[in-house]
């Protein structure tokens, strides 16, 4: 094996490769925002081809283990390459691409067998296998351990039946990393197991969900006796909850840097507010001015809350998961307030608009999307539990279901009266 090149040598070589193989890009070009544009599985074929090229040149999985298709270099090489690559049009595999190499692959690397990783990770790096999460269900969101998709053993394989929902990018992905119940007599957290399910397998139906705004980015999947080989189990049988916790932690820590948690401005009133007030002739209306002031004050303080939380996380005397919940709760509480205030400011504009008149439609869409962070990725209520228990030191609610056999929980839930 050849010696590791110095970072300078490595970057010089990478720069040449990037220049010869990729289009240049303005690093300040904004990322695609949620709810804009539609795409089909075919639209991702060029990006997949490009990802294969990047992988074959050795620039995918730079710090990942060599045994699984990576380059085994220190993480600083990966970071430095990433920074440099911002100036180039890297393959954009959309939201499923992010999930595949993010939450899915990172969790697999910690829990899956060596054989599994050798088989799947190289293909994930090359863009041949895009993984999404088959996680929430129509009947289990905040109470994730309450999922009811079942996996039944049949010889050397497992047969999965159930339904999964809120899968971002499921319509163009190849595999789902799927949480299923494998023991119904065990308490809810102790009968769960993860599987890699081919979305092309017989019995899988992937259905885009038309969202409240009319867009379709999420999907629902129906699994009808889908066969999964034993070798595609991820982690140990019935140990799925510890895998889940790994995944949730990975998601939450990456979510911390998610720009969509922050309002758009640092200093100065959002110019869109003033434009809207002008459009409806309300810039001198004291009520409208109060609304603009309220929105701006909250926007500004939310940005500064981010600074404060970073400081608290660095000082490290409270659990990071609890502190990070302030950020999430601020988004979940203030996004809907902001959207409602803008609706009030805009009067009739966001209620009816000429086709192609961007302002009214944009305000309306933002209003319809305003509870994304109140619900997705841990609802406001889950964040309030996290803050009150982890930061404020308050006791947990008593649990009525975590020590009973899960099938008993299901049987008795509808007649639950609260008496022990």
């Amino acid at each position: 094996m050849s010696a590791t090149p110095s970072l300078e040598e490595y970057l010089a070589e990478a720069k040449t490769w990037l220049e010869e193989n990729l289009e240049p890009k303005d690093p300040r070009e904004p990322m695609r925002v949620r709810g804009v544009g539609h795409s089909t599985p075919e639209d991702f074929l060029p990006a997949r081809a490009l990802q294969k090229k990047v992988y074959e040149a050795g620039y995918a999985g730079i710090s990942w283990p060599v045994a699984y298709g990576g380059q085994g270099l220190p993480t600083e090489y990966q970071r430095a390459f990433g920074t440099m690559a911002r100036g180039f049009r890297m393959p954009n595999l959309g939201v499923a691409g992010g999930t595949s190499l993010g939450a899915c692959a990172q969790t697999m690397l910690q829990h899956a067998s060596d054989e599994f990783l050798k088989r799947h990770i190289p293909k994930m790096l090359s863009g041949e296998e895009l993984f999404v999460q088959l996680f929430s269900e129509p009947g289990a969101g905040s109470d994730l351990a309450g999922i009811t998709t079942r996996a039944v053993k049949d010889g050397e394989q497992w047969v999965l039946t159930g339904s999964k929902i809120w899968t971002s990018g499921g319509y163009y992905a190849d595999y789902g990393m799927c949480l299923a119940r494998t023991d119904w007599d065990a308490p809810k957290h102790r009968g769960l197991t993860w599987f890699a399910v081919s979305l092309k397998a017989d019995g899988v139906t992937v259905q885009p969900i038309r969202e409240i705004s009319g867009e379709a980015e999420f999907c629902q999947e129906f699994l009808d006796e889908v066969v999964v080989p034993e070798s595609d189990m991820i982690g140990e049988l019935n140990q799925g909850w510890s895998v889940t916790q790994t995944m949730l932690l990975i998601e939450r820590s990456s979510g911390r840097d998610d720009p969509s948690f922050l309002p758009p401005v640092d200093t100065g009133v959002d110019p869109k507010l003033v434009q809207l007030a002008e459009q409806v002739g309300r810039t001198k209306d004291p009520v409208a001015r109060q609304l603009i002031g309220q929105i701006h004050v909250n926007d500004y303080v939310r940005v500064k809350l981010g600074d404060r939380i970073s400081g608290l996380l660095r000082s490290g005397d409270k659990p990071a998961a609890g502190i990070a919940s302030y950020w999430k709760l601020a988004a979940g509480v203030h996004d809907p307030i902001r959207a409602r205030q803008i609706m009030e400011l805009g009067q009739g504009v966001p209620l009816s608009w000429e086709p192609g008149d961007g302002a009214g439609e944009r305000v309306g869409i933002e209003y319809l999307n305003s509870r994304v962070w109140s619900i997705a990725g841990g609802s406001n209520e889950m964040q309030r539990n996290s803050i009150s228990e982890k930061v404020l030191g308050l006791p947990r609610e008593p649990s009525y279901d975590s020590n009973k056999p899960f099938n008993e929980v299901l049987r008795e839930a509808h007649s639950w009266t609260g008496s022990a």
């Binding site: 003033v274 002031g293 004050v297 500004y300 500064k304 600074d307 006791p395």
Partner: protein, 374 residues
């Protein structure tokens, strides 16, 4: 405590905490309420020895900051004072010292500034007009009069004016806004203690009836007064916000303790989700208030034009948040908070008053729009 404080500021904080715990803890503040009086004179002079009034004045006049950033140091003190619901015109005296040392009109006021820094005398800002109008000169009229000036009118909500030797009077006149440093015992000035919501500080009405002043009593000129006024309001907003956040922090701590100690239905009430969620929301409110206060301290320390807006943002946010927090805590305490004996009402009264002093939330939101040119 606060991860953003320097070592020197931690020390400043601890020294002031020790002093207050010894000289005027909350139990003594409560005793003052019963007696109807204020803190004795040694309180101000001992506070002065700890540097309470030196932070915004240059060393040449006997001042000097701890960290090199006087506004930030003063805000550290303000937060401690707020925590303990301290009386006295800390905010006003510092604002007036800052205004006097930044006045470029050439009048020598070093002796006055020196006496304020040493705690020998106090100062209060006569700002609000009748009914609580915060726009500047409201309620007070100034005219040229011989070689000097004459003031007529009425100001309200003047903090601790009974202990003040000097009043900074902001007035409206033929050439616009102007400000005057008025001895509180000048003929025609009447300083009357009024009853008020806040029991931890005394508020006064101040009448000006044909008050004749010499030319040296004017602070700045009608040309410089608007900018000076803006700076004063921003500084007062920041220090008052810091006091307010200190009191909020303390009240939330008491409430959280109570929710862990109070038993109902066989368990601490803080174990019920209805209570936990309300406390989590209140805690977010408090964290956002602290973030706003810190941002405003940094901005006003720099003191550029943008700092005026950031000060108004913080004042506006925290004014609303303080009342919201007080009511959330009130609900949490339940019946006990309805008693005179419990300290809760002292916090409620203080925070609700803080929310309006130096301009309530709506006033600062309108001000933000004006500063933004909307």
């Amino acid at each position: 405590m606060d991860p953003l404080l320097s070592d020197d500021q931690h020390l400043l904080r601890e020294t002031t905490e020790r002093f207050i715990e010894k000289s005027l803890p909350l139990s003594s503040v409560r005793a003052l309420v019963g007696s109807g009086g204020g803190a004795d004179e040694s309180y101000r002079s001992q506070g002065a020895e700890l540097g309470w009034f030196a932070l915004l004045a240059p060393e040449a006049l006997g001042g000097g900051s701890i960290s090199g950033e006087g506004v930030a140091d003063a805000a550290v003190l303000a937060e401690v004072r707020g925590w303990f619901l301290q009386p006295g015109s800390f905010v006003d005296t510092n604002v007036i010292i800052d205004a006097l040392v930044n006045d470029t009109s050439g009048v020598d006021r070093s002796a006055i500034v020196g006496s304020l820094i040493s705690g020998e005398s106090g100062a209060s800002w006569a700002l609000a007009g009748p009914g609580g109008a915060w726009s500047g000169g409201a309620g007070l009229d100034w005219r040229s009069h011989g070689d000097g000036f004459r003031l007529d009118g009425h100001k309200t909500l003047v903090v601790e004016a009974g202990d003040a030797s000097w009043l900074l009077a902001t007035a409206e006149g033929p050439d616009g806004l102007a400000q005057f440093l008025v001895p509180s015992d000048a003929p025609g000035v009447t300083v009357s203690l009024v009853e008020g919501l806040d029991l931890t500080r005394r508020l006064y009405d101040v009448g000006f009836e044909g008050v004749a002043l010499d030319s040296a009593s004017q602070v700045g000129t009608p040309t410089t007064a608007p900018a000076a006024f803006d700076r004063q309001l921003a500084l007062a907003s920041v220090l008052s916000t810091a006091e307010c956040v200190g009191a909020m922090d303390h009240l939330f701590e008491l409430t959280l303790e109570y929710s862990k100690d109070r038993i109902a239905f066989g368990r601490p009430i803080g174990s019920f989700q209805a209570i936990k969620h309300q406390l989590a929301d209140t805690s977010l409110n408090l964290e956002m208030s602290k973030a706003a206060a810190t941002a405003a301290v940094k901005a006003v320390q720099v003191g550029d034009l943008a700092s005026l807006e950031v000060a108004s943002i913080a004042k506006s946010f925290v004014s609303d948040a303080a009342v919201e927090l007080a009511h959330a805590c009130w609900q949490n305490f339940g019946g006990i908070a309805y008693t005179w004996e419990h300290d809760f009402h002292l916090f409620l009264r203080r925070l609700t008053t803080d929310a309006s002093l130096y301009g309530p939330a709506a006033f600062h939101r309108e001000r933000i729009c004006q500063l933004e040119g909307i």
